[in-house]
Amino acid sequence: MSTPSTKIDLPILSMTGDAKVIQAAQSLGKLLAETPEYQTFLQALKDINHDLEVQKLSAKIREHDNALQWGRGDALEHQSDMKILQAQMESLPLVQTYHTSEQIFVRLCREIDEIVSETAGVEFAPNARKSGCGCGG
């Protein structure tokens, strides 16, 4: 009696198209993370997250926001106070540094997106954006 040959599914050893895409995207992400623009942005982000004044102002803004959402107190007063607190926050040197570094990094991301899109022949970022509504749009 002959034994039926067992078919073994071997993993595909050659890299598929999608695997190449993932590898190329990972490489780009790693290089982007090493840029001074990203490092400065990251540091600025850490700085504002660890700053006591920013934390204090953020907490106060959240309090007003919660009150607004739950309909507590005078809505106009909450909005006015929030506006003042947000202006105070924006005037902090650390926050200004953060915004500047963010804009610089955003510009770099945009340049990269333009290059990827041009080479791919299809716009990258608008098509890579995940739809938040799950409606397929």
Binding site: A24, G29, V122, F124
Partner: protein, 122 residues
């Protein structure tokens, strides 16, 4: 931009360009654009859309029949086989692109796609 980063962006672009989903989409897009019926259906729909949105932005209230007429035009365009094929191909492209975007985001810890689009929306 440093040359290594530039090269890496080009490599990702070229790799995406060679992906089956992108090749299929580009072909489907060309076919839809070069078909007179499909192209005119879509051009007509876009023209009506632009007129209606401009009027809306100017504070004008659109009538129910105008809106219904637009939906009918859109359905007509979207049910054209070549446009359906192109849109289905684009959905596949979005899947591949989203994966690539996620990989970049994972390396950064911040949403690359959102940042790239934030600049575009300035």
């Amino acid at each position: 931009m440093n040359p290594e980063l530039l090269e890496s962006a080009r490599t990702l672009g070229a790799t995406l360009n060679q992906a089956k989903a992108v090749q299929t989409y580009v072909q489907a897009k060309t076919e839809a654009e070069s078909n007179l019926e499909a192209a005119s259906l879509e051009a007509n729909m876009l023209e009506v859309y632009q007129v209606l949105t401009t009027r809306q932005q100017n504070g004008e209230q659109l009538t129910q029949s105008e809106v219904q007429e637009f939906y009918a035009l859109r359905n007509q365009a979207q049910s054209h086989p070549l446009i359906q094929t192109r849109d289905a191909a684009l959905a596949q492209v979005k899947g591949v692109f989203a994966e690539a975007g996620t990989e970049i985001t994972n390396q950064l810890g911040v949403d690359f796609t959102a940042l790239a689009l934030a600049a575009l929306e300035e």
